[in-house]
Amino acid sequence: MYYIHTIASITHQDSFQQANVWNTLTPLTPESTLITPDYKLFIPPAALRRLSPILRMAIAAAKSCQENNEDKIDAISIGTALGCLTDTEKFLVTFHSAQSDTLSPTAFIQSTHNTIGGQISLDLKNHSYNMTHTQNGLSFEVALMDAILCADDGKKAVLVGAADEAIGFLKQLQPDIIQDNRELTSGTTCCILSRERKASSIGIVDCLVRAETSDWQTDISDFLDRNETKIADIDAVFVSQLEDVKYVDHAVCYIDYTGLYYSASAFAVHMAYDKLTHTNAKTALIINRVCGNQLGAILLQKDEAPH
């Protein structure tokens, strides 16, 4: 069993450093905006001026986790589907319209996907293993699996999370490249994963990653079989697709609360974490089918053994 604790999210919900997100969730409306903290409290001004919105929120969430974690973080594993879009757009626009031979280095440096894990590492002054995973709709699940491998490899505290940002140009492209017309949003979630159980821990029982599924319900059934449980016994089910609510009794569509970004299943983990912590629910399942035929699933469990 693996455990997560010290979770932090910046989303369209009032989620950052809140004791119980589950109690305050409200479905998104067209007026919903990203609710951000005062980043100056988390990032030095000299660094802050260079950082795009996705880097600011990912670093603030990571730093919040570090501040609330007793152990030194000894690995960083981050998922992002589309990476640093603001800097990518800025670099490409400058490149396209450049009147000189030289281009601003900042947007170029920060336009690559692996900037996120790297910038977190720099800002935390943590030079241990760090990796940014980009696997479309499964980016968070792959980052989580890497974190589990790190824990198996002896890392005591792994910072695992995900971040994605929406920009105006992505919304223009949405009808052509994203087969989903729900509101595109931004968000980040980070948490600490370890093999050590603590008072605030919720267990990660298992994680499923299917790059392509032809029958997601059978795959979920097989996933639950291998964990010796069945869907009817799961107390809280979180799904990415609204239509899946009719297949899974008592399911909640987490995209209704996050808006659409491909790594939003990370915030579903936050929702599950708070539900398991603050209610009588003992098990939770997250089913992520946000991107095409990809399938991700995360099984969580409240561990009630004495600490």
Binding site: R49, D101, T102, P105, T106
Partner: protein
């Protein structure tokens, strides 16, 4: 001449995203780099190279000279004036 210095200050603030500063916060002959100055670093030095090329058509051919040229707004302005003369 002083217009160039004020123009440079505005360009520096914009190029380096120094959103908390105004041109009046930057002293003409004050150091731009290091803790005793504005705290700029090596990436900002690259931004200065872009700034000089984009706005003034000036290239800095000798990297070793950059440290002196980029020391302050005054040294930047003097270099531009000398090169353009």
């Amino acid at each position: 001449m002083s217009n160039l210095r004020e123009e440079l200050k505005a360009q520096i603030i914009e190029q380096l995203n120094l959103e908390d500063l105004t041109p009046s916060d930057i002293v003409n002959d004050g150091p731009l780099f290091g803790d005793e100055g504005l705290g700029l670093d090596s990436i900002d030095a690259l931004e200065f190279i872009v700034l000089l090329d984009t706005h003034y058509g000036i290239k800095v051919p000798d990297p070793n000279a950059a440290r002196e040229i980029f020391h302050s707004v005054e040294s930047l302005a003097s270099y531009i004036e000398k090169t353009k003369a």
